[in-house]
Amino acid sequence: MPAEIILQPNPNAADLAEKRERLAAVRAALAERESDVAQLHSQLKVFEGRYLQRVGVLYAELDEIAARITEREVDLYDSDSARRRAQEARERAQETHEAAFGADQEPEEFDPAPSLKTLFREVARRIHPDFASDEAEQKHFTLLMTRANQAYSRGDAETLQRLLDDHLEINAARAEASGSDESDGVTLLRLARQIQHAERDIAALEGELQTLLGSEIGQLYTGAEAAQQDDRDLLAELAASLRERIADAQYRLEFVERQVSALGR
């Protein structure tokens, strides 16, 4: 009887291959999302600058005139209400001026707590790309390292801790395997966890993207992009309508000033 050798793939091996593929795909999606968020963030920064330059300064001008009108009104008819109104208008003008012309807020001096330093070192020594076992892992570690660096520079212990926990969780599975090699079962478990982590991070980034888009500047940006599709320049429209309001306010200011000089005050 001829021995029939049927090469049956090890069911674990098929599973492993499938999980590895899945992990690679999820990590690719994660990297994609990371870059989406980073890109949107830098687009918003640029848009913010343009907005402040073309529109923000006009709000500052409008508020300045409004403040002067209320101050002239105090000259005309002094009363507690008139003074309070003038003070509120002046504070508002000040705020708008600072928002429109103020330099970017200086980043606070970076002086991380010792515990954050320790935590960062713990993370860095585990996920440094140089310690990766293969190319795919190196790519992933590079991504993690970037996030760890960002988290560290903004003092975000939570993210650092999560990065560390993820890593420990993965390695706990490895360590349980006796001997030098992981058993297939342990590898499967590790892969499952790594996929889970990546999916969780994608969801978090998705949330971040929504937060950015939902912010006031994000909504303005989206509106400006949509207007551009119709060949409209949203910032120019805003600026034009503000110039009309400024002209209006200027007229009212001159009117009040004429009243003041008529009263000889």
Partner: protein, 262 residues
């Protein structure tokens, strides 16, 4: 004021730590609001065109679309259409809803209407608050009504000084009732130092706009020469103007004068 959206207290939740300039949120919020309320909103434009052509159901539909996009003017007009049952079935709840949405966006007419709606429902505190916001938005009608609420102590502790302040702002915008009320306060010296000259000045402005009470009062000041040079012709002229409008004291005065001095 509740309107903290404009004073920089809002904060962008910082997601995963990507922090935008939170101190600038208010200047962005204003731009976003103004952009959303731009008159170039296409639904708003087609709504206005339909409205002007008398096609009210179509207008209501387009206003609704713009309103859903946050267009405050459309929200306000939609609320008035629900109130009047114009192009849509009359619906007070919908009217109140859109009116409040527009008011919260800072639409002064909606704020004034909402104030009136609160007032009609005997919610004096609400009426005062919304009236205050519309008055801060420089709406003469609201400034006048805020003055009234201060004078009567409705929704706020009575204060004639505050009343004078708000009457004056409305009066400076040419609001006749406010000019007449401000003149009354000057005449009586309530909330402001008594000044017959100022009273005469503001009565005249209101009288020229046809306020019967101001015409009668101005005539009286001419008669007795208070704050103004005595002038018999002016006295007769303004008293007759008031009488022609049915002002009772003026009618009595004219009849008495005609009997004595035809």
């Amino acid at each position: 004021m509740e309107d903290k959206a404009q004073s920089g207290l809002q904060h962008i939740p910082s997601g995963g730590g990507l922090v935008l300039h939170s101190g600038r949120t208010s200047i962005f919020a204003r731009g976003r609001r103004d952009a959303a309320n731009s008159s170039s909103n296409s639904d708003y434009q087609s709504a206005v065109a339909a409205y002007n052509a008398g096609r009210f159901p179509a207008a209501a539909q387009s206003f609704k679309q713009a309103a859903d996009q946050g267009h405050a003017e459309s929200q306000y007009i939609l609320s008035t259409m629900y109130d009047a049952g114009k192009g849509v079935p009359q619906d007070g709840a919908q009217a109140a809803l859109w009116e409040r949405t527009a008011a919260e966006q800072g639409h002064v007419y909606a704020q004034a209407n909402l104030s009136f709606r609160c007032y009609s429902a005997s919610d004096l505190a609400g009426a005062f608050e919304w009236c205050q916001r519309a008055a801060d938005g420089d709406l003469a009608w609201a400034q006048y009504n805020l003055g009234l609420m201060y004078q009567k102590g409705e929704g706020v502790a009575p204060s004639e000084a505050e009343a004078a302040h708000w009457y004056r702002l409305a009066a400076s915008q040419g609001f006749a009732d406010a000019q007449q009320r401000l003149a009354d306060l000057y005449y009586l010296g309530q909330g402001i130092p008594r000044s017959y000259a100022q009273a005469a000045l503001w009565y005249r402005r209101a009288a020229e706009q046809g306020s019967a009470r101001a015409q009668f009062q101005l005539g009286y000041l001419y008669d007795v020469g208070l704050g103004i040079e005595h002038d018999y012709a002016q006295y007769r002229y303004w008293t007759r103007m008031a009488a022609e409008q049915g002002h009772e004291d003026a009618l009595r005065e004219v009849n008495r004068r005609d009997y004595r001095d035809p």
